[in-house]
């Protein structure tokens, strides 16, 4: 009975509606301590220099860290930048995000379309595609690192076909390809499910009407299915984009950011600068983090705007 009387006592002071605060407080407390506070500290790090961990012992340097990060003699040639690995990381992240999201959503859409048909054992197939989502990034990366070794099974297959084994993970181009492939492999199932649910929400009578009109399948797809799926599709695209920009875990284990900086993405750069390098440049890491946070904020606002527009649309119908 303790909790009840406590709540009643608080209600006497706050009134009914403001009891909401009481319920919201634990959540807010955790957010404040582990989210907002670190961001504030990040700003202190970003505006200070030296290698000290304790923010108050660091000398104030203003915007010097941002200056170092963004200093480039010639923006067209990345290697003239002072922190060329940072710029490479940005470029890699952009390329990766565009390619990975595009391909993954495409395959997710195709899979959802296939699963939407009358097939035997749909539940089973759904589970098949969703399974890799449950595997941890470390497990996923280790499996593929193992497969792609010079003496791994993939090369064994190539040799069996008469070709030469390829150094998949120590050549820049192929390593980059495989980071895209592995992350699609691991995450596609999640978005497939969302798109599938969206497909199944499309009323059957629309399809039946189209069948009566003897409409060609391609027209059905482009005139009925895709437009009605569009809100879901856009949500999926933005969600996938936000996640793609933050890619770290799988790549960290798969290539460690290598070879060279071919698969170094922005979060890996932050981790390397702030944690892994033995001369810790916390200021730079913080500055890069703030830059990334800014981009993510933009992306999330875009997502909100779009989903709100979508909601308004469906409400307006």
């Amino acid at each position: 009975m303790g909790i009840d009387s406590l709540f009643r006592a608080v209600q006497r002071r706050l009134g009914l509606q403001r009891m909401g605060w009481l319920f919201v407080t634990p959540n807010l407390l955790v957010f404040s301590v582990f989210c907002f506070l670190p961001i504030a500290i990040n700003v202190i790090y970003a505006t200070s220099g030296g290698v000290n961990l304790m923010p108050l012992q660091r000398p104030f340097t203003g915007l010097e860290n941002f200056q170092i990060l963004f200093e480039c003699q010639n923006y067209a040639d990345l290697s003239t930048c002072r922190k060329d690995v940072f710029w490479r990381a940005i470029w890699n992240t952009l390329t990766f995000s565009v390619l990975q999201v595009g391909l993954m959503v495409l395959f997710a859409l195709i899979t959802a379309l296939v699963l939407n048909r009358k097939i035997v054992g749909r539940g089973f197939w759904r589970g098949v595609f969703f399974y890799p989502v449950l595997l941890s990034p470390v497990v996923v990366a280790l499996i593929w690192k193992w497969l792609l070794q010079r003496q791994g099974v993939l090369n064994a297959g190539l040799v069996g076909l008469g070709w030469e084994p390829v150094e998949w993970l120590t050549q820049s181009g192929t390593a980059f390809f495989w980071t895209i492939f592995v992350s699609i492999w691991a995450h596609m199932g999640f978005y497939t499910l969302i798109l599938l649910a969206g497909l199944q929400a499309i009323p059957r009578d629309l399809y039946e009407a189209a069948a009566l009109d003897r409409a060609k399948p391609w027209r059905v797809l482009t005139r009925i299915t895709l437009p009605l799926l569009m809100p879901n599709l856009i949500v999926v695209l933005v969600l996938a984009a936000i996640r793609a920009v933050q890619i770290f875990d799988e790549v960290f284990v798969l290539t460690g950011g290598g070879p060279g900086s071919a698969t170094t993405f922005i979060v890996q750069f932050i981790y390397q600068t702030g944690f892994a390098e033995q001369i810790h440049l916390y200021g730079l890491a913080a500055a890069a983090s703030l830059a990334l946070a800014f981009c993510l904020m933009l992306l999330t606002l875009v997502q909100l705007r779009i989903s709100r527009a979508g909601q308004n649309e469906s409400r307006g119908e």
């Binding site: 582990f34 941890s136 280790l142």
Partner: protein, 349 residues
């Protein structure tokens, strides 16, 4: 005929359309691409270190056969040897010096033959190297890693369900000034994933004194914006009349939350629980910076640490990987239907 009809049912037609062939082909390709690596992993985890180093690798695990020969206390490895006159013979190797191996015929162990190591090929048979797994439990404190992962997952999920449902309740069933602001605040944390506040997060956790403690991994993770929104959406659909009725019966707000709203939100709670279990079991980055003592490692951290340390001791690494993905797989096998429908439902909202 009924069965045949059922099997061949297509989009309204009586025969299998080419699109159906394509569909099933695609599904089978998906099955292969998604499952073959895992199957390969499991098969390879039973191979000995020597077998793993072989190229091209075999599907089934093979191990070199050994034979006990009279006059020698330890069993000797068997090789198939091509002798100088071209004959092939199965011999047991006593030892090797330089590029010459001393071998004996298991049948007549008194006669010793000198064979160039290039002339011999190991004799192998299918053998599952269970030692990869048993050694792991002996060498590495596996039980500890497993316990740490389980503890973190269970406790974090319970706490997540509790405080997220409380927050969702507060945001859906009450109207107070500043409510909008709170909602936006929680939303804004979606834009700030832990990946970019690594160092300050480490500092904060350290100053609180939760470094190298499992709670240092649990507490930061229990407030999830996704969870709050998910539950809020669901709670909005709970009729206010139920609450009004309870209030007229003099129930305290806590009672209303605990006894009425929470049980009614069970489906949404289940989905959040599934998400939370998935997230916490696979957590990597935060544990990486918070836990650095061996006895606090989770399975994922241990896997990563050994991946770097035992760079090429793949036989242990593979076995450990299989063990790490086993719990998730088992849960999935049983709850697959609930998981997929739940997530699909959540996604649509």
């Amino acid at each position: 005929m009924r069965i045949l009809d059922f099997l061949l049912r297509t989009r309204g037609r009586q025969r299998l359309d080419w699109t159906d062939y394509l569909s099933y082909g695609y599904l089978l390709l998906g099955l292969f691409t998604l499952f073959a690596p895992v199957v390969w992993l499991i098969m390879s985890s039973f191979k000995t270190e020597a077998a793993l180093a072989q190229f091209p690798p075999s599907f089934l695990p093979y191990a070199q056969s050994t034979v006990t020969v009279t006059g020698f206390d330890k069993p000797l490895p068997l090789f198939e040897v091509t002798l100088e006159d071209g004959r092939r013979q199965t011999l047991a190797q006593v030892n090797r010096v330089g590029i010459m191996a001393t071998m004996v015929d298991p049948q007549s162990p008194d006669e010793r033959l000198r064979v160039n190591i290039a002339q011999r090929k190991p004799v192998e048979s299918v053998a599952f190297a269970w030692s990869n797994y048993t050694d792991l439990f002996q060498k590495f404190t596996f039980g500890t890693y497993l316990w740490n992962s389980v503890f973190i997952t269970v406790v974090a999920t319970l706490l997540t369900l509790l405080i997220n449902s409380m927050a969702a309740f507060g945001l859906s069933k009450y109207r107070f000034s500043g409510q909008r602001g709170v909602l936006l605040l929680i939303l804004s944390t979606l834009m700030i994933p832990p990946t970019i506040i690594l160092v300050p997060m480490f500092l904060v956790i350290n100053e609180i004194g939760l470094l190298n403690s499992l709670w240092g991994v649990i507490l930061p993770a229990i407030a999830t914006p996704t969870g709050v929104f998910l539950l809020r959406q669901y709670m909005l659909t709970i009729p206010d009349e139920l609450l009004e009725a309870a209030r007229m019966d003099h129930a305290s707000e806590w009672r209303i939350y605990w006894r009425i709203v929470l049980p009614l939100s069970a489906p949404a709670l289940a989905v959040l629980a599934i998400f939370s279990v998935m997230w916490r079991w696979n957590d990597f980055l935060l544990p990486l910076i918070v836990l650095s003592r061996n006895e606090q490692f989770t399975l994922q951290l241990a896997l990563n640490a050994f991946q770097g340390e035992l760079n090429t001791q793949w036989h242990y690494l593979l076995a450990m990987t299989v063990i790490t993905l086993l719990p998730v797989t088992i849960v999935f096998a049983f709850l697959q239907r609930h998981i997929t429908t739940g997530i699909a439902g959540a996604g649509v909202k």
